[in-house]
């Protein structure tokens, strides 16, 4: 592995796992996801344009690895009407709210989740998010709208359950 990539991985590993956790909703899966993406980056290293700052390339690889992972496992996943564990949070606490949001985010389809993570964690523009995901700006707009609508609905249900 190139020394620059090694330094990047050693320095950013916790941050990357955190990023992947936001994308896939599972800490154990996240570590696997980051490894998968970084293996890909290692093999593609000669083509990484900004070798001194490969963060954008690595994150893009993580996003695509997560979408591919979902494609492989989706046949094993069963959709459910309600989320497990919803309704146990302390609504007076903002920390609890954030935790509930993360769990609600994890219930979204991976592509929708990826759009929200790119837009609200990476603060990407709609155009940049579209470039990363290989789709149109219109798709980003619609997926953002649908994702936020679902989050609101989940929260509304959560409050009813309180």
């Amino acid at each position: 592995m190139d020394a620059r990539l090694t330094d990047y991985v050693r320095g950013q590993w916790p941050s990357l796992v955190r990023y992947a956790t936001a994308l896939c909703g599972d800490a154990v899966e996240a570590e696997e996801l980051v490894q998968t993406a970084l293996v890909r980056v290692t093999l593609r290293w000669p083509f990484v344009r900004d070798k001194d700052d490969p963060g954008a390339y690595v994150k893009r690889a993580i996003v695509h690895a997560n979408i591919n992972r979902w494609r492989r496992v989706r046949s094993r996943e069963l959709p459910t009407e309600t989320l497990p564990d919803i309704g146990v949070a302390d609504r007076t606490s903002s920390v609890a709210d954030q935790d509930a949001v993360r769990r609600a985010l994890a219930s979204l389809p991976p592509r929708q989740r990826a759009v929200l993570v790119l837009r609200y964690l990476d603060d990407m523009s709609e155009q940049d998010a579209a470039n990363v995901l290989g789709c149109s700006v219109g798709t980003i707009k619609s997926q953002t709208h649908k994702g936020l609508t679902k989050l609101r609905a989940t929260f509304a249900m959560d409050e009813v359950m309180q």
Binding site: E31, L38, R40, R44, Y120, L133, L148
Partner: protein
């Protein structure tokens, strides 16, 4: 910004760092990258083996008779390398290579550090002189030769949203690229090119690169380079837990057998090299209907997982296999089994088997003089056992 957006933003930015299981992620990634290169090599060599069987070497290895060298002779003086010693002839970014049409076809990164890219070289297999070079686009991981052209494909695997299939025409009249589909394997039979993606097989027009309407839907997902044309003219595709035979004239599935093993390329006649765990096996897929005892031919006992197989022009066999039971940590070697060893019945890899140690071979491209060219992801090397 409304409440849910702000809450989402706050939530994402305050995601706690999960406790890590890995003590050394860099070591783990490097190990997996080495394995990934080896996996690509193992898969890619299936194509090389198909081409070699179909174009260069009429295999009779299973009978232990020497196969005549019939193709690819350029009439150049042949330097004789020291026997048994691998010779590096290219450094600095070899990606994949195959043989066909009398040449060695070498996919590699451009030497330029300011303008990274990929090139395909047509190489004299005897002297390793570069005869001509073509630019190709990334992503590109595999190369094969068929229908008079060099075919290159890659992508669709996480680093890129889409795949790319390209062909380089040595005559310069019909080079093309086809983007959008993540093709993962290509084979050539009956004057057609067959490419797999997802759970489908397409016939690809060699003149323009477009997929024809002759798509075949399979009962399961294809795997990387899980498509083989046998020397007897059968086309087999690995689909999930089955191998499926496609009639090249009607483009339809005509047979399905249960076999989960990988495909390592044609093994002569109607046989395909595969693995049943600890052994490399030549199998006649359609005989599986009548039982494994009838379907299984030559079996080579190995010390670990087989990654790549290619026939030698003298009737022997080259294979890359892990030297031990731990595929994550044990090294891989490049072995040569002579026609005599193969004819002895159920041969085994042991300390006396001629080999090059620690070869994480990226692809095998046997020549017609008993040698083999390969890449380990960086250097291009030739070995004459």
């Amino acid at each position: 910004m409304n409440d849910i957006e702000q809450l989402l933003r706050d939530s994402l930015h305050s995601t706690p760092t999960p406790p890590g299981r890995l003590t050394d992620p860099v070591a783990s990634i490097e190990r997996r990258a080495r394995r990934a290169r080896a996996f690509i090599a193992g898969a890619a060599v299936a194509v090389a083996a198909v081409l070699t069987a179909a174009i260069v070497v009429p295999l009779s290895m299973l009978q232990g008779t020497a196969a005549p060298a019939t193709g690819g002779v350029l009439g150049q003086p042949t330097p004789v390398p020291p026997s048994g010693q691998p010779q590096v002839w290219f450094t600095g970014g070899s990606v994949a290579m195959t043989s066909g049409g009398g040449s060695l076809w070498h996919l590699h990164r451009t030497p330029s550090t300011t303008k990274p890219g990929l090139e395909v070289d047509r190489v004299d297999p005897a002297t390793h002189d570069v005869e001509r070079t073509w630019d190709v686009q990334e992503p590109a991981d595999f190369i094969a030769y068929g229908l008079g052209m060099a075919w290159v494909w890659g992508g669709g695997d996480g680093g890129y949203p889409d795949g790319l299939l390209q062909a380089v025409d040595p005559t310069g009249t019909k080079s093309w690229s086809n983007s959008g589909k993540a093709f993962n394997g290509v084979a050539f039979l009956a004057g057609k090119a067959w490419a797999t993606t997802g759970s489908q097989v397409w016939v690809v027009d060699g003149t323009h690169g477009s997929e024809s309407s002759g798509v075949v839907v399979l009962p399961g997902a294809t795997t990387q380079n899980g498509i083989v044309a046998t020397q007897s003219g059968e086309l087999w595709v690995r689909a999930g837990k089955s191998w499926v035979r496609i009639d090249p004239t009607t483009d339809r599935v005509v047979d399905t057998v249960h076999w989960e093993g990988p495909m390592f390329g044609a093994a002569g006649g109607a046989q395909v090299w595969t693995s049943d765990g600890s052994r490399l096996v030549a199998i006649t897929p359609r005989f599986l209907h009548q039982g494994q005892s009838l379907a299984l031919g030559t079996r080579v006992v190995t010390r670990g997982l087989v990654e790549a197989v290619a026939p030698s022009s003298d009737g022997g066999l080259f294979l890359v296999a892990v030297d031990g039971a731990d595929p994550e940590n044990d090294p891989m070697n490049l072995y040569y089994l002579s026609p005599h060893a193969l004819a002895a019945g159920n041969p085994a890899i042991d300390d006396g088997t001629p080999h090059v140690a620690d070869v994480t071979a990226y692809q095998l491209a046997p020549d017609d003089r008993g040698g083999v060219d390969y890449t380990d992801g960086d250097a291009g090397t030739r070995w004459m056992p």
